[in-house]
């Protein structure tokens, strides 16, 4: 029974990917005995499983994901957070206070106000409720400085690299701390603006060229060159 494309070919919604004894994987669906693509992407045949790696998609919340969001509303018992997803996220006041919320005493805008950025974890999410956020772990909480970028969520794994190799390399070469929100928002914090901009540029380059080979080497080279130029400038 046939597969109709080769691995890594671009497919579009409605393309007939396979017929017969196949299982519909990511971004594909079964109609009768036929498997069709749901999104534009690169098709992958993994044994009898047909997947489409989407070239463009948006972030859908998952419990446990670390995300970066913006406070868009201060409510009575917590905050509404924009996490770059179809659903707004909720952060309860008790999460931030680590104790029950006392309306008479606690002034929410003082803790987090509209426009503040936070790193948080998705604590709970299901089809009937908006995602709930938690900030009670190290590394989570309010962000006070750094560069924020928006990246296609499907490219985040590429920026992380195999076993974190890519992002570690960027951190090392630029001296910046990089937090990658799985919702496609990236925070870069460094000692100088130049360092932050360099790291941001590297990340943008990875996003644009994520499907090419030799990427790690090229990025490493680019960062080393930039560092070299910086050293030269210092010596002048």
């Amino acid at each position: 029974m046939p597969a109709f494309f080769e691995n890594k070919q671009i497919v579009t919604p409605g393309d007939l990917l396979a017929e017969g004894e196949y299982v519909a994987g990511e971004n594909s669906y079964l109609e009768g005995s036929k498997i069709f693509a749901q999104r534009i992407g690169l098709v992958e045949y993994d044994n009898k499983r047909v997947n489409v790696v989407a070239l463009k998609s948006f972030y859908v919340p998952r419990t446990g994901d670390v995300v970066i969001g913006t406070i868009v509303e201060v409510g009575f018992t917590g905050w509404t957070v924009d996490i770059n997803a179809p659903y707004p996220a909720l952060l309860r006041a008790s999460e931030v206070l680590n104790r029950p919320f006392k309306p008479q005493q606690d002034d929410l805008p003082k803790l987090l106000d509209v426009g503040d950025l936070i790193v948080a974890k998705i604590d709970a999410y299901d089809r009937t409720h908006d995602p709930q956020l938690a900030v009670n772990e190290p590394g989570l909480g309010k962000i006070t400085r750094g560069q924020i970028m928006k990246v296609t969520p499907t490219k985040i794994p590429r920026i992380i690299g195999r076993k974190g190799s890519m992002v570690s390399m960027i951190k090392q070469e630029t001296g910046c701390n990089v937090i990658l929100g799985l919702n496609g928002i990236v925070l870069v914090t460094g000692k100088t603006l130049e360092d932050e901009q360099l790291a941001s540029m590297a990340i943008r380059k990875i996003e644009d060229e994520s499907h090419t080979s030799g990427l790690t080497d090229r990025i490493t080279q680019m960062l080393k060159n930039a560092k070299g130029k910086k050293e030269e400038k210092k010596d002048e």
Partner: protein, 262 residues
């Protein structure tokens, strides 16, 4: 994100306080500008302006109608603006809101007060029949400074506008083949400055607009007269800043006119 983050706002303010901008421009630089004329053949005139990623299309239509009672010898100009929901996640469908009305009226003022169109030449029969020029502004993508982009597109579209030839018999305007260009006397240029404390920047893009204190726009005619001014935003200007902005607008208008060959 439609809400600007505090971190971003602070960054923009810090840059500007040091006479720099987050997108690499100089304080008085416009973004990359592209103008295309005549892209809507059905319309009597049209122009599309790309100012950075701000994208505005203007189409003009000519119809015959009655003059206003207080100006019986003049044709009619009417300017309308649509902030189409395609242009931004923050634009909603529905009747024109205060932003689209303000935009239309600012562009209108620049054209009208500069006396760009020779409206007497649009008169068919005084008091009874004149030509009406409709200028419809369509924002396709909002990335800041819709005013300058829309004004530029409107003026370009009018420069591109053809008036149909006609016969006038028994109170009826009968269109016949052939065209003449819309009679134009001036080419107003509008320049908008945004205020950040004691600094002014020209052509604020979307993030700068979200972070600014206030903005002020000047429409300048070919002889460097100021024809229209509009201050907008929740903040305020010091009087000396207003004069400074007026001077910047005059200089930029000169530059733009040269660049566009107007």
């Amino acid at each position: 994100m439609s809400v600007i983050t505090k971190v971003k706002k602070k960054e923009i303010e810090q840059f500007i306080s040091k006479d720099k901008r987050t997108d690499g421009r100089e304080m008085n630089d416009y973004r990359e500008m592209r103008i295309e004329q005549g892209i809507i053949e059905r319309a009597e005139g049209s122009a599309r302006v790309l100012l950075g990623k701000t994208d505005v299309l203007v189409g003009t239509k000519i119809a015959s109608g009655e003059p206003f009672p207080d100006t019986p010898n003049d044709g009619v100009l009417t300017v309308n603006a649509e902030l189409a929901p395609i242009a931004s996640p923050s634009f909603e469908t529905g009747p024109p809101d205060e932003n689209s009305v303000e935009l239309a009226r600012i562009v209108d003022r620049g054209i009208r007060e500069s006396k760009m169109i020779d409206t007497e030449k649009l008169c068919v029969e005084p008091g009874k029949k004149v030509f009406v020029v409709f200028v419809d502004i369509y924002v396709l993508n909002h990335d800041g400074n819709l005013i300058d982009a829309a004004a530029l597109a409107a003026v370009s579209a009018l420069m591109n506008t053809k008036m149909p030839n006609y016969d006038y018999k028994d109170g009826e305007v009968k269109i016949k083949p052939g065209y003449t260009q819309l009679p134009i006397k001036q080419h107003p240029v509008t320049v908008t400055c945004a205020k950040f404390n004691d600094k002014l920047v020209v052509d604020p893009w979307l993030e700068e607009e979200q972070a600014m204190d206030a903005r002020i726009s000047f429409a300048i005619d070919d002889d460097f007269n100021i024809c229209a001014i509009q201050k907008g935003g929740q903040g305020y200007f010091e009087p000396k800043q207003v004069l400074e902005a007026a001077k910047i607008a005059k200089d930029k208008a000169k530059q733009l006119r040269k660049q566009l060959d107007w």
